[in-house]
């Protein structure tokens, strides 16, 4: 087996989110403290306890033509939009890479739910012959990865990790592994999610996982606040282009930072509830640090998973405190973006790299009264305005239903 021990760097970023149609507009809106959360006004939402959502700032149809759109589920459309931005940003498409050595890893939490549910309506109303021949390629969870693979003509492998809200982070870990195992020379990684529909909304609401602060959308997502009452369902995608540092340098590529370490663990505790002390999360963070050859003291910034659920935020705070300490500046960007589920880990990794580039920590919004849990009280959570900082490595946490824990370490190049 071949191994390649060279550094892996990020040379391209792409995103389409509730805060913006691309990476620059999303980052600007994040630093400006804007919220992507709104209240649904459609008739169907009336009986729903949780009526808030973070929809895309720009419809994918603005960037993908009609004929191409009609055979792509919305989760595939957002993946393609983010991937094409990242690919163009990296310049890797013009760098002479052999397409046999180009790979794609795009995760999703839910997959093509809108197609599944929409085609089920057609089946019920019009019968089986009216079900679209594109139903299966549109609903399959590897659909976003496959659509992106086609968009950039990747022939070195297309993969789709599915680990609920850790999927986007897991995709980055897979991409790193592929480069280290010498299975590819460039890997486009990321996450995609688009499942704003009554059924997922009802399912999450029945779990009591979503905020019901319906009359105050912009202040509903409030990670680490004492009054938090659940997450806000968001849609969007984010992608990163990973290559070897020596190849990126040789072609004069712009470099955002390194992906130096990744850790992935499982709780073995409960299907959906996190371990109360974040035991599995601690092991993931520890593994990522060791993999990166860094220590906790090297981490200056943590982009927390912090979804604004009562149980999850406390368990994560305990895990960060135990495995990193209280010196790192913590940001919970879901306070503005909402929770992009399988795209969250990818988007928050994009935020880590931009924070590193600009040496600024995004502010966490909507903390009126910090939760009185000891671990939350001890963390250095940046509240309100962004904070200028000098740091050389950032860490991103992502967790998913199923007991999935992912941690990624991004040092400066």
């Amino acid at each position: 087996m071949n191994f390649n021990n060279g550094d892996v760097v990020v040379t391209g970023l792409g995103a389409t989110t509730p805060l913006g149609a691309d990476v620059p507009s999303t980052w600007d809106a994040l630093l400006a403290g804007r919220s992507g959360v709104t209240r649904i006004t459609d008739e169907w939402v009336q009986p729903f306890p949780a009526q808030l959502v973070a929809r895309l700032a720009e419809e994918p149809a603005e960037k993908i033509d009609r004929v191409r759109s009609r055979r792509l589920d919305r989760s595939q459309q957002v993946a393609v939009v983010a991937a094409e931005e990242a690919w163009a940003d990296s310049g890797a498409g013009d760098a002479g890479y052999d397409s046999l050595r180009v790979a794609v890893v795009i995760g999703t939490g839910i997959g093509g739910a809108l197609t599944l549910l929409g085609q089920d309506d057609i089946l019920e109303e019009k019968g089986p012959k009216r079900v679209s021949p594109f139903t299966i390629p549109m609903l399959m969870p590897n659909g976003p990865a496959a659509a992106v693979g086609l968009a950039i003509a990747a022939r070195g492998g297309v993969h789709a990790p599915v680990s609920a809200c850790a999927s986007g982070a897991e995709a980055i870990r897979w991409g790193l592994d592929m480069l280290r195992l010498d299975r590819a020379d460039v890997v486009l990684v990321g996450g995609a999610e688009a499942c704003v529909h009554p059924l997922p909304m009802a399912g999450f609401a029945s779990m009591r996982a979503m905020s019901t602060r319906n009359d105050d959308p912009e202040h509903a997502s409030r990670p680490f606040d004492a009054g938090r009452d659940g997450f806000i369902l968001a849609e969007g995608a984010a992608c990163l282009v990973l290559e070897r540092a020596d190849a990126a340098k040789a072609r004069g590529a712009k470099v955002y930072g390194r992906v130096a370490g990744a850790g992935g663990t499982s709780d073995g505790y409960d299907l959906v509830a996190p371990h109360p002390e974040g035991e599995g999360a601690q092991r993931a963070i520890g593994a990522a640090l060791r993999d990166a050859g860094l220590t906790a003291a090297d981490i200056g910034h943590v982009n927390a998973h912090a979804t604004s659920t009562p149980v999850g935020d406390i368990a994560e705070a305990a895990a960060i405190l135990e495995s990193i300490g209280d010196h790192a500046a913590v940001a919970a960007t879901k306070s503005q973006t909402g929770h992009l589920l399988g795209a969250a880990g990818a988007l928050e990794s994009v935020f880590c790299l931009l924070a590193l580039r600009d040496q600024v920590i995004p502010g966490t919004q909507n903390i009126e009264q910090l939760d009185d849990a000891a671990a939350v009280q001890k963390l250095d959570i940046v509240r309100g305005e962004p904070r200028k900082a000098t740091f050389s490595a950032a860490l991103n946490d992502s967790f998913g239903f199923g007991g999935h824990n992912m941690a990624l370490v991004f040092p400066t190049a």
Partner: protein
Amino acid sequence: MASTAEIQSGLAEILEEVAGVAPADATPEKSFTEDLDVDSLSMVEIATAVEDKFGVAIPDDELGGIKTVGDAISFIEKHQ
């Protein structure tokens, strides 16, 4: 009964909707796969749309034999 010209223009509308084929390109000699880049799944959608527009069902075992726009026009003319 639709005339040949009506069938051709109706088919061109379907091709434009399903596969983005410019109406001027939907001429009888064109091959769906070779010339118009219409794949097998899109052919299934086209068959469904033909049934809606012309009331002509194209059975699966006949669909494979329809290679050109002209083949489709002839099939619809014969079975309408």
